[in-house]
Amino acid sequence: MIDYRTVYTICPFCGTGCGILLEVMNGRLEGVLPCKTNPVNQGKLCIKGWSAHEFVHSPDRLKKPLVRKDGRLEEVEWDEALSFIASRLKAITQAYGPDSFGAFSSAKCTTEENYLLQKFTRAVIGTNNIDHCARL
């Protein structure tokens, strides 16, 4: 049985925000179609948009958390990575204060994720040291 769907979403590359339809077959992305009804691109895409599905299934994708042990990054379970972060972050911010922490957020991530990372930085750590690469 073939499960084929298209999912309406937005191109992940530049700030134009063109509407795209991701073609999904059996849980894998197979292609991109331009969305005709989106008011921004009206059925057009540039070459980057047409290729927006290609990097997703790259064999290079990070698939498991990594923690540096004896100088090398090694695969670990989520729980280990998260408790490693929590203990180190607590130790550092308790010793040197909240302003010893900084966060680089991402213009590639969603609005909600940017909101959450700044909330984490301000409310959990207690510093305003957060920025993203708008300037770069």
Binding site: I10, A107, E113
Partner: protein
């Protein structure tokens, strides 16, 4: 953008400055072409004769970094000739008299000398822009990535207010955002000096609202920008860094300095989808997901909040980035951060940010909603500043021309400009894993003017070394009159020959943008 993408095609005149639109924002360029078909005049100001410049009715070949002088020069002519919008200036603005006096000294003769643009072209551009029924300004990183980035933006605001070309359909000032969600990141205050929705850290009522919602006491002191954090790492001010979906090892100026800083951290957390150059330096790496594996919103360059929708399950054990942040917060013992979905996060945003108050996933639906949208009934704001500016009257802020931080000299005789190529995106970590795109181009290059190439006996395709005070890279030469003699151009997407090894970390004093667009280099043939 003060206006919407679709309005551009109705403009009667479009001034494009510091934007290689066809290459960096091709779909926006199609609107500009449609405007041209409908009879609009296109003016392009750029030190490179870019693709869009070849379609211009008027192309002003400025010397690098002289934008303020160009704009002041146009204002001088417009005011002298009485082409400014007297009614708009009187009713909607303040400080015009100061601007008028200030602009006196920017005579066409002087401006022509600073910028290299012939006086007659300055006059033509001034007349075209001022007299058109609707004029729009389009700009990009060519304006902002300078030590005078803020001055550049202010002078464009002066031009649009003096001519009354703002606050109307197809009239306004339109920065094109480089990355898909730069607008959303900034709106959500992933910046050190405000709270979400540009609400002030100094406003007690604002602080009280957030403190109640989040159940904490908030820090009031503004934080550090990326470039300031980099410096603070070196001096032991910052010891732990959490990097989400960023690759400062390619995107930041003076990479060798960046590497040293990151290596000296006590804790470097990197959350990304690929093993980037920055991941290689991390103590702990958290695998996030791509846009196709999660729900959420992106805010595009015209303030349009649009939905991204999950199409496939996360690859391997990767988790959606919003989920990871909540996991880290829980591990730290934070009581809050329980969200069933991004939609719930969005509702919290709407409850705290007036600009987004009327927006929800239901209302975004197919076509998105443009902020400001303050109530559930309010429509999208298609263009801004219609009857009033956000603070009432628009204030003219005259700015003086200042030379770039690092100019060519005997030892480093060329100006290096960095920017984007048509087939790749930012640090290349996504596009360089795409076959269709690497098939087009997968190697860095330097554009050199034919006269300079001849002088240095550099041939097309030859390996050429570029050296600045900070480092050197070797790339293939492309001989082209797109660049002016005395300037070279290198795209910054290629980590193995990163243009940012060369660039100058000199910052704009106000917003701390590095001067990516100008530094001094020398060229050598590689034997």
């Amino acid at each position: 953008m003060t206006n919407s993408v679709e309005e551009l095609e109705d403009a009667a005149c479009i001034l494009i400055i510091g934007s290689n639109t066809t290459v960096a924002h091709p779909i926006i360029a199609t609107r500009i072409f449609r405007a041209r078909e409908k009879g609009a005049k296109i003016i392009v100001v750029d030190p490179r004769k870019t693709h869009i410049a070849s379609y211009a009715d008027l192309y002003l070949a400025e010397k690098s970094g002289t934008d303020v002088a160009v704009i002041n020069g146009l204002l001088h002519i417009i005011i002298k000739e009485g082409w400014y919008d007297k009614e708009f200036v009187e009713k909607r603005t303040e400080g015009f008299a100061v601007l008028k006096t200030f602009i006196e000294e920017y005579t066409p003769a002087r401006v022509s000398e600073i910028t290299g643009i012939p006086e007659v072209q300055l006059r033509q551009a001034a007349e075209m822009f001022a007299k058109a029924k609707q004029s729009s300004i389009v700009y990009c990183m060519g304006i902002t990535q300078h030590t005078v980035g803020v001055d550049n933006v202010l002078s464009l605001a002066n031009l649009s207010m003096a001519t009354g070309h703002i606050g109307k359909w197809a009239s306004g000032v339109n920065p094109l955002r480089g990355q898909n969600n730069v607008q959303g990141s900034t709106d959500m205050a992933a910046i050190p000096n405000v709270l979400p929705g540009y609400q002030s850290l100094a406003d007690d009522a604002v602080i009280a609202k957030f403190e109640t919602a989040w159940g904490v006491t908030l820090p009031r002191k503004p934080g550090l920008t990326i470039m300031e954090m980099m410096d603070a790492i070196g001096t032991g001010g910052i010891r732990a860094l959490y990097v989400m979906g960023e690759n400062p090892m390619v995107s930041d100026p003076d990479i060798q300095h960046v590497k040293k800083a990151l290596e000296s951290l006590e804790l470097l957390i990197v959350q990304d989808i690929f093993p980037t150059e920055t991941v290689a330096l991390a103590h702990v790496v958290l695998p996030g997901v791509t846009f196709a594996e999660k729900d959420g919103t992106f805010v595009s360059t015209d303030r349009r909040v649009q939905r991204i929708r999950k199409a496939i399950e996360p690859i391997g054990e990767a988790r959606p980035d919003w989920q990871i942040i909540c996991d880290v917060a829980h591990a730290m013992g934070a009581p809050d951060f329980d969200y069933a979905s991004p939609s719930e996060v969005f509702d919290e945003i709407a409850s705290l940010v007036p600009l987004f108050a009327g927006i929800s996933y239901d209302r975004i639906a197919e076509n998105g909603i443009q902020w400001p949208c303050r109530t559930k009934e309010a429509p999208s704001t298609v263009f801004m500043h219609k009857d009033t500016f956000s603070k009432g009257l628009g204030t003219f802020k005259p700015v003086a021309y200042k030379a770039p931080a690092e100019l060519p000299d005997e030892e480093y005789p060329f100006i290096l400009i960095t920017g984007r190529d048509a087939f790749h995106y930012h640090t290349g970590s996504m596009t360089r894993r795409s076959k269709s795109l690497t098939g087009q181009i997968n190697r860095c290059y330097v554009q050199i003017h034919p006269a300079d190439a001849k002088k240095l006996r550099i041939k097309a395709g030859q390996l050429t070394r570029l050296r600045s005070r900070r480092g050197a890279i070797e790339v293939e030469a492309r001989i082209t009159p797109i660049v002016q003699s005395g300037s070279v151009f290198v795209p910054f997407h290629f980590a193995e020959t990163a243009a940012n090894v060369l660039t100058n970390p000199a910052l704009d004093p106000v917003v701390k943008i590095p001067e990516f667009k100008i530094c001094a280099v020398k060229l050598e043939k590689v034997a």
